[in-house]
């Protein structure tokens, strides 16, 4: 390692450089080798073996994957994850754009505090979000139920938002929209604030309305960040676990099952390591796929991110 050719970095040949580089990289690699590279290799191996205990198991090829592709739970998980991603892009990103534009267009004393309020729930641990989500949607005593009873709308109060298989998924989605739209808001705000002032002034001189300015100047400029946000929410959806686990445990039935929930159930409820590892590999491949899309999109745009 110390025998590398010397580029311009320090000019003179330096025998201490190699060991120095080695020592500085060592800690990071120790962590990654033990807790990441080795487990990655193991995941792939386990996903190809049939094992239920601590034994090394037998090689079964792609059997775990085949079984998964035939199982109802996995289908539901896959479907929910992508439905979730789709609606995140359709609802959360436009909503975030409207808020971000409104906050930045009239930059006044309230902009800063409002931005902080919108972002607050994003730093909350998911357990707290789940707890507050149940608090909102609980039957009888939850915010919605007791508020609608208080104003006499009994029909609204009697809905079981988390217990009804047709509604549970959308209730979770509503909680996530409440809790996690803050990130796209602050991200888009940061991008909008970078738009040169002159453009804004020119638009105003031309008598462009706020809406016209948003559509013709701001939105084209946000083309790339919005696509990044779409990729981020898709990758986030693929890994969705905490909220459905804590609020509905994937139920009722399979109505809120995600890939993460399926992995957990296979691995830590059924103790079927092979199948759980196969889901792990699938989650990795899917999220890598969308990240690669992010980077190719970024390169085509030719912009330093």
């Amino acid at each position: 390692m110390s025998r590398e050719p010397k580029p311009k970095a320090h000019g003179v040949r330096d025998p201490k450089k190699g060991p120095f580089i080695f020592l500085f990289l060592l800690p990071a690699f120790l962590f990654l080798i033990v807790f990441m590279y080795y487990p990655i290799e193991e995941t792939v191996r386990l996903s190809l073996t049939k094992t239920t205990g601590m034994g090394s198991g037998v090689f079964v090829g792609l059997e775990n994957y085949q079984k998964l592709f035939l199982s109802e739970e996995f289908h539901q998980g896959l479907w929910h994850v992508f439905t979730w991603a789709f609606w995140s892009c359709i609802i959360q990103i436009p909503l975030a754009f409207l808020v971000a534009f409104g906050l930045t267009y009239y930059g006044n004393k309230l902009t800063g505090p409002l931005r902080s309020i919108f972002y607050l729930s994003n730093v909350m641990p998911s357990a707290i979000i789940a707890m507050l989500g149940k608090f909102i949607f609980a039957p009888r005593y939850g915010i919605i139920s007791s508020l609608s009873s208080a104003i006499g709308w009994k029909w609204l109060g009697s809905i079981d938002y988390l217990g009804d298989p047709r509604l549970a998924f959308w209730s979770l989605f509503a909680v996530a929209t409440w809790a996690y739209t803050g990130f796209p808001i602050i991200y888009l705000m940061a991008r909008i604030e970078q738009i040169p002032r002159e453009l804004r002034e020119a638009a105003e001189l031309d008598g462009a309305s706020a809406w016209r300015y948003a559509r013709s100047v701001v939105l084209p400029d946000l083309n790339y960040p919005i696509r990044i946000l779409a990729v981020l929410s898709t990758v986030g959806s693929i890994k969705l676990f905490d909220l459905p686990k804590m609020m509905t445990a994937g139920g009722p039935g399979f109505s809120t099952v995600t890939l993460g929930i399926t992995l957990y159930n296979q691995g830590f409820v059924n103790w079927n390591y092979g199948s759980a590892s196969a889901i792990g590999v699938i989650i990795f491949v899917l999220s890598l796929l969308f990240t690669v899309i992010q980077f190719t999109v970024g390169n085509r745009e030719g912009k330093p991110i």
Binding site: P39, T43, F118, F135, A210, K245
Partner: protein, 282 residues
């Protein structure tokens, strides 16, 4: 653009949009405020007048909730995990980030891509082997077994951040120090690392919040109830006590959310700035 002295430079449209945004902000923080309305009431008072102001400030719900999930122990455990995550994430990240920024050659480039790969590996992918490995090595059910894993999944990201930060510092500083005869490591620890303080403050805050908030890894790696972190305790509370006793539920929510809220009030400017910086980097 004309400068007018009024706070609302754009007249009615600005007032309208601002009011709309304030209303939306109220909706957004409502789930954090409303528990305050419920938490100080007895169950009886709550079931008759859930939306009125509490008649008296009853504290027993808080002590009930506190005892039900042993919040003191949870706070201590979570704090240890968060501090441990900071101590084990930052040094490997700033050391490696410095090398990748300042000692570019073929070997370090390959090493860099090896670390970069780690950034794209979701924890869910390796959950099963991690669990098996930690059980086999008796690392599971220890707090350090948890924060070492958290550090592993944080190191790639923070290495990238430190790398781009060190790349932005002027070359002359290190050259001057080297000419004065300072060793490689002395140059780093005396000159470069202190200059990276902005990145370090950011890392301190965000690693702390990340470790504090973790659910998945803690759920898998900790089964001993005494070691449960705050988030696991909240989860057990959700499983064990329904929302039927709403005042106690609301109290538990307030206690559980409070540490994050305090941290956020103190550091929201940093947190938002840092989050954007981190996001834009990618």
């Amino acid at each position: 653009m004309s400068e007018r002295s009024s706070r609302f430079r754009y007249g009615y449209s600005e007032i309208f949009v601002t009011v709309l945004l304030i209303l939306l902000a109220l909706v957004v923080i409502a789930p954090l405020i409303i528990p305050l309305l419920f938490a100080f009431k007895t169950q009886l008072e709550f079931s008759y007048h859930p939306w009125s102001l509490p008649k008296a400030l009853l504290m027993s719900n808080f002590s009930d909730a506190w005892k039900a999930i042993r919040i003191d122990q949870g706070l201590v455990n979570t704090f240890i995990v968060a501090i441990g995550a900071i101590i084990t994430t930052l040094p490997p990240a700033f050391l490696a980030g410095y090398i990748f920024a300042r000692y570019k050659n073929k070997v370090t480039e390959v090493a860099f891509y090896c670390i970069l790969v780690g950034y794209f590996v979701p924890a869910q992918m390796v959950l099963i082997p991690l669990y098996k490995f930690e059980v086999a090595t008796k690392l599971s059910n220890t707090l350090y077994g948890l924060f070492l894993v958290m550090a592993t999944f944080g190191i790639p990201f923070w290495t990238l951040i430190y790398r781009s930060f060190f790349s932005g510092l002027p070359n002359e500083l290190t050259e001057a120090a080297r000419i004065d005869g300072a060793s490689h490591s002395k140059t780093f620890f005396r000159i470069m690392l202190p200059l990276a303080n902005p990145a370090t403050v950011l890392a301190l805050l965000l690693v702390f919040i990340g470790a504090w908030s973790d659910f998945l890894l803690s759920l898998i790696l900790l089964t001993d109830q005494n070691l449960f972190t705050m988030q696991l305790r909240v989860n057990s509370f959700l499983g064990a006590y329904g929302t039927d006793r709403m005042p106690r539920y609301a109290s538990a929510a307030i206690i559980a959310a409070l540490p994050t809220i305090i941290l956020y009030i103190a550091g929201h400017k940093w947190i938002i700035k840092g989050t954007i910086a981190g996001a834009v980097k990618e």
